[in-house]
Amino acid sequence: MDARPDKTPCLKLANVSKSYGDATALNRVSMTAGEGEFVCLLGPSGCGKSTILRLVAGIESCDEGEILIEGRVANYVRPSERNVAMVFQSYALYPHMTVRDNIAFPLTTRHGRHFDRATAANRVAEVAQLVDLSDKLDRLPSQLSGGQRQRVALARSIVRHPVAFLMDEPLSNLDALLRHEMRQSLIDLHRRVGRTTIYVTHDQLEAMTMANRIVVMDHGRIQQVGTPREVFERPANRFVAGFVGLPSMNMLSGHIKGAKFVSLHGAIFELPVFAFLVQDGMNVVLGLRPTDIFFGPARPGTVSLSGSVSRVEYGGGDVFVDLALSEAERLRLRASPEKPVGVGDRIEAYIPLAALHLFDAEGASLRRPEVAA
């Protein structure tokens, strides 16, 4: 599965596979990243997203397939000659070198030695200003905060003027508040520098807020490629539907009977069957996002839900409630802090028909492609 922009993509993987012994890390993966695009690789730990970065960087070699950088096959090109820069999760700063020397390192190696001292110094100063580190050039990494170290790692990547940046969960070592700030900084930086960026994360909020396109992965395969809106509103399968969106999508197993969905424990939902490719008697899974379920009686164009509250979770601005449809079936929905509910309360809720998701027994979405969400 891949998306193809009109012109030659900056990065392209074509049927790339990689195994470590008996474990398959990547299974015939194909994807592209266009000029200046910010592409997020999103998925759980061990799904192969960091492996893709390492293959593109040249740190490892693929077992099958081709990696193309600016249209040229890069499988046999040394890492230093691929003209891509990588920001590691641990930043990989040289602890014995100052910030200045860390940033200047790519310009002083065998590959970068064609820069004269003055040019190299100017480049370092320019990049240090870009990441707001001009006053910290003489410090050692141990004297910097986590966010500052991350900016040094970014600066060291930028100073080489690569064709693409590869970022392997660069925010994962930061606390929540700093992560939010750095997310904004990265978005600004990408806008200013304008280079193709492949960004690996398991945090869907990062992916949704930063990416032009998201590549959702699981077990070494691409599950879906699309914009954040596409991936959220039209998930291609159960995995994407369950992984993207917090809290996770509610899933009810059942079958189709006429124009209705009947759950395993008897809950019945009207379905806009024109929107789905279904047959009578088909085993399916109905998906309902907690954020699409609202308190109150059903109205035209919605499906009614009712049950008793089995759990209430207070999260500050959000309150999440578990609604028991039956003994074995529960739905999670968002409640308003202004209208508190208690465990045991019987409540009515509704969900718009257009917000329903349906998946077949194998997990593939049954939504008709021509019908918008």
Binding site: S80, M86, S90, A92, F105, T109, R110, H111
Partner: protein, 283 residues
Amino acid sequence: MRAARQRLALEPSPAARMLATLVLAITVVISLAPFFYVVSTSLKETKSLFSYPPRWIPDPVYLGNYLALFEKHPFGWWLGNTLAISAIVTGLKLVIDGMAAYALAKLDFSGKHAIVTALLISVAVPLAALLIPLFLITRSMGLIDTRLALILPPLANPLGVFMIRAFIAALPDELIHSARMDGAGEFEILRRVVVPLIRPGLVVHATFIFATQYTTFLWPLVAVHDLKKQVITVGISSLRAIFTVDWGLISAASLVAAAPLTIIFILFQQAFFQQSLAGALKE
């Protein structure tokens, strides 16, 4: 009041402190007594060594033993040879072991496992078992009775490779990958990234090699016959005559021989402590 009680609870009692001081004092006396005895012996004439009762503080102080070392024996040559050979072997081994350790720790190549196994096996073979073949090889190269015979064979000892490999393996792989992506070759990575980060380990390794070379006895005894090319360990053993033993002279020789090594250990003790605690605490 409460703070004082808490402080007292955490500190040892006076009796415990007295006992600890006593034990430590006895240990110090036991450790240093032989050393002081050797110093005392080196400053006495041989005829007064066996006087009764024994005198710890020499009276008069006799410096003839020290003068005799340099005037009647080639002690200066022994000391110079030993220092030079130890320094050269240390320098060369740091380079060779460092490169080998980096390759084994951070590079992937066919036969790596076989090489490591072969090196491990060679460490297990004692020098005594290698003495004859080593002598035959050295003789066939025309190096018997030369200083090169004392420099070249120790370079092949792989023990240091494993020691340095452990230090290098502890470095994050990302540092190496990052340097490669930035255009550095493997020698450049070793020189600019790895060596500065394992410096304390290299100091410990260098001290260990120097001390081993300084105190080696068996191979120099076999490989070198010319006294002027000999090392200090063999030289001191030659001070012992067939029928008599000049303990004053030997004591003086031992003290002078021990001085350089003692100075080195004192200078680099910080690196020893740093390396021994490395990894003990979470960073």
